[in-house]
Subunit: 339 residues, 2 copies
DNA sequence: CTGAAAGCGCTTACAG
DNA sequence: CTGAAAGCGCTTACAG
């Protein structure tokens, strides 16, 4: 099966390449090409399974119809889900998506951004390390379409769609307070990301507005690369006297899993001795012992808005205002906080 | 910041585009371009942040340095992990990856394959629906590099890297038998996929080689789109008399999760009343109540081999023989089978 | 209504 | 050692 090119069709049908290209791009009517010719071209193309070479088309049109997705880690279920909805939505609108994982490394992230630009993606969706503000500024100056997801740069005016981390942090803490918990710990990674900071602030605000004491010792911030190791000690310090917390807020799904492992290891009963609540979920959190009360993020919405914003900007470059969206989270109550 | 093109460099430096292109592609020495000229070109390029337009380069060279990944569903943790290692490995070798989810729809899969060909990917990694043998044949005839992962076409001679599903199914069943289980059920999706069939055969072989009865009623095959609904009944029928199984083998991670939910719903104690074992895992299977004994798949190896095989074929088209690899699974013993 | 021609930004034989 | 030129496969003003 030989490959068919535009030229082949033109020659076989004794028409110009122009005509073929026009017709196949649905501009036949616009250019008043006879219905008959159009039909012949379309039929021939279909029969020979002709499809335009995207590289050539892209080069010629100055757009590739692909969008780049840069995330910390595609194997994290949260990002995997986002990637899934982004892909679906992008496909619907005629775009393919190429992805790259930054592994939270700003240098890698920058490299991927540039590499994608070379590859002539038409736009970028980025869940950034939040350490590349200069690079983002550069994109803005180039007038290059992009939208930040999950993590944004608070000082920068750009498209983004994120989640209400502050509200989520507050709600999960309030839930604990409503259940009568008095000494509520907070386990997090180092709050380098605004999203993580906001969860902490939410926690603190809930405490504050309920006139509960804020103790520095209740807050454990683990190193992102080494949290599994540090978790052991953090949990111990929280659970044992003098802190002796009766509840723990975990700021990410993997911290929850890790923390629960430690709690089990030291035979601390959840929720009887300590209640736990998780920001975001892992695969089978409803089956875990005990089923884990979690804040849930609207992944689909997030992905859909991201693509919508991006395509909007790609297709009407000049007129578009910066678009921002903050999505609400949702508390799913299960067993890990008791009743 | 204006974009720099090859032409700009050539003009600024008063050399030919040829020279610039050659030097920037590390063919300066080969073409005996003076060290001095080379240095001037490289410096200028670096200073102005020049990067070749990949579309143009691709069109000209006839390769895009991208590989296409087609999987059933990127939001499934198993494929997300594979995607992650494939991306890492591909990047190391200078390739970008574009992905598409088929959602188990053969038509979609075919469309994605063709769309990727139009986009001029250099090779394809496919976890196929296994209903597109014709399309795969077509790829072979075109001499287009591709490797099948996770699912292969048993009747077709092509590159693949899969997992020993038969062995896995056998081991997990044998584990149950070793623990003294007598009536072992098997819950699966419809065995349209060879991988799923093999797991069943493995189960059957374990039974056979231990002189245990094979009962048709012990085997439940659910419809892939509707398994959550059908699970309720399947579990009931297995657990209640007359079948009254004392163990269940689940052939996929999501079936395990779903089945366990039903078992809990009808208050059937695991592992005391019925032991369960899972082929493949979900995020927190070690934390589930009870922690789930599972067959684990070597995702990283799988991804690495896939890329290795593919790149091998892409870069030495003619000489390469078909490469096949079957990876061993691993049984992780936890609590769900008792002791 | 239709075609010849230029152009997208590269790479690479080919000729000196 | 180096450059002019053709070519990759399309798209699209432009001219009739």
């Amino acid at each position: 099966m030989k490959k068919t090119f535009l030229k082949d069709i033109a020659q076989s049908l004794q028409v110009s390449k122009t005509a073929v290209s026009l017709v196949l791009n649905n501009k036949g009517d616009e250019h008043k090409i006879s219905k008959d010719t159009q039909k012949r071209i379309v039929d021939f193309a279909r029969k020979h399974n002709y499809k335009a070479n995207h590289l050539a088309r892209g080069l010629s049109r100055g757009k590739s119809e692909t969008i780049g997705l840069i995330i910390p880690d595609i194997s994290d279920i949260f990002y995997a889900k986002i990637a899934s909805t982004i892909e679906k939505q992008a496909k619907r609108l005629g775009y393919t998506v190429v992805f790259s994982s930054s592994n939270e490394d700003p240098k890698d992230e920058q490299e991927h951004i540039r590499s994608m630009l070379n590859r002539q993606v038409d736009g970028l969706i980025i869940a950034s390390t939040q350490k590349n503000q200069m690079e983002m500024k550069r994109l803005k100056e180039m007038n290059f379409p992009f939208v930040l997801i999950d993590r944004h740069y608070p000082d920068m005016d750009s498209n983004f769609v994120i989640v209400d981390n502050h509200g989520g942090g507050k709600n999960m803490t309030q839930h604990l307070i409503n259940l009568g918990k008095k000494r509520i710990g907070f386990v997090s990674i180092e709050p380098k990301l605004d999203a993580i900071k906001q969860r902490l602030y939410g926690y603190q605000e809930a405490l504050l507005s309920n006139d509960m004491p804020q103790k520095k010792e209740y807050i454990k911030e683990l190193c992102n690369n080494n949290y599994q190791h540090e978790m052991k000690r953090a949990i111990k310090e929280l659970v044992e006297p003098p802190n002796h917390v009766d509840a723990i807020v975990f700021s990410t799904h993997y911290l929850t899993a890790s923390g629960l492992r430690e709690l089990k290891a030291i035979n601390c009963k959840v929720p009887d001795e300590v209640a736990i609540v998780s920001f975001d979920e892992l695969g089978a959190f409803d089956l875990v012992d005990p089923a884990i009360t979690s804040i849930t993020q609207p992944v689909n919405e997030l992905g859909n808005y991201a693509v919508e914003f991006l395509v909007d900007e790609m297709e009407n470059k000049e007129k578009v205002k910066v678009k921002k969206k903050i999505l609400e989270t949702h508390l799913i109550i299960r067993k890990s906080c008791g009743t």
